[in-house]
Amino acid sequence: MDDLKRPTLDSDFTCDMAFNKITKWAQKNSLWLLAYGTGCGAIELSPTMTSRYDWSRLGIRGSATPRQADLLLITGYLSTKTLKRVIRSYEQMQDPKYVIGFGSCTINGGMYYDSYNTIKQLDLYIPVDVYINGCMPRPEAVLSGLAYLKDKIGDKKADGWIKYKQNFEWYRENQKKILKSFNGDNMPDKYNW
């Protein structure tokens, strides 16, 4: 992780100074989440989005396609087969975009540490802004993680998407180590959004 470039903020992040405050406020309070339940954590999302916990209070909403989504929630372990689709979905999302690693499995493999088919460390493959630990995290933990992400966006620290662009070769190299036929079916080598 040490060889990663820190994102250079001034170039891309703060170009529109005049509208900066208002756009940051809007980006923070309107998070559309890609409806992609990658692992078992998706089961705790349904209570979080429905009447008891109701994340729409925080301006969070599901969106059906990656083009409209701001937030990718990796709900739990990722098998290598899903990782390929997740990278594809992530690259189709439009900037600025954020990733939340949900559950212990995304942090260090969790209880699948010895599984041959799940990745152990999510931030080697896509940049992660916030991790929520637990197996599985309760809806309160999910909401608190989302609130933390909102604070991070407000403080301009949620810069995973810039990091991904600036360290693109590093991420691609890691991804190719796991996904053996990377260029085979439909995976573009370049970042073509």
Binding site: K81, Y116, I119
Partner: protein, 184 residues
């Protein structure tokens, strides 16, 4: 009630198939039958058509590397008799081949593809052998075999986060003291 049907089925099967290696009861409503691999298709055919074992619960495989064998297990259920049969047969591990039963049950296809992918067992007559079913781009030996070490593969391929400094392995410690703690 179930017991008498169980005995009856046992006797019937013994009469019909002389080549059965062994047949025993495995608890209530369970029969465990050992067969030779050549008999398996005719046996299942007979069970399905004439003895009302209409429901295929699963096809499974157990690996016995010590004996150099794969043991394929067919689990059939008869709803009218309330009996679950476990038909077992051992096949050579070097050249694991068996007749497919996809003509009897369409859902057997997926079980067979999975065994083909996970153990490398080849089912003759199933035209979808060798298809990628669960795994993608797999380049090692079939993963469910006993000689495939999952942790080793994970260590080789995936990168773990650095361990915590205060990490202790307490499993052996608990194991040693387990009995004296439980006495309290």
């Amino acid at each position: 009630m179930g017991f008498s049907k169980l005995t009856e089925t046992k006797v019937l099967l013994k009469q019909y198939f002389k080549d059965i290696i062994s047949i025993e009861e495995g608890g209530e409503q369970r029969l465990i039958i050992d067969l030779q691999s050549k008999d398996i298709t005719s046996m299942i055919n007979h069970l399905k058509d004439f003895m009302d074992f209409k429901h295929l619960s699963m096809i499974s495989c157990v690996d016995w590397p010590e004996e150099n064998k794969f043991e394929i297990v067919y689990i059939l259920t008869s709803y009218s008799k309330n009996i679950v049969l476990m038909l077992k047969t051992k096949i050579d591990r070097k050249n694991p081949k068996l007749q497919s039963i996809m003509s009897l049950w369409p859902q057997a296809v997926t079980y067979e593809i999975e065994l083909n992918e996970m153990f490398g067992v080849f089912f003759e007559g199933n035209d979808r052998m060798g298809e990628e079913f669960i795994l993608e781009d797999w380049d090692d030996i079939p993963p469910m075999r006993r000689d495939f070490d999952s942790l080793e593969y994970a260590n080789k391929n995936f990168k773990f986060r650095d361990e915590r400094k205060d990490k202790k392995i307490i499993r052996e410690f608990i194991s040693e003291h387990y009995d004296e703690w439980r006495k309290k």
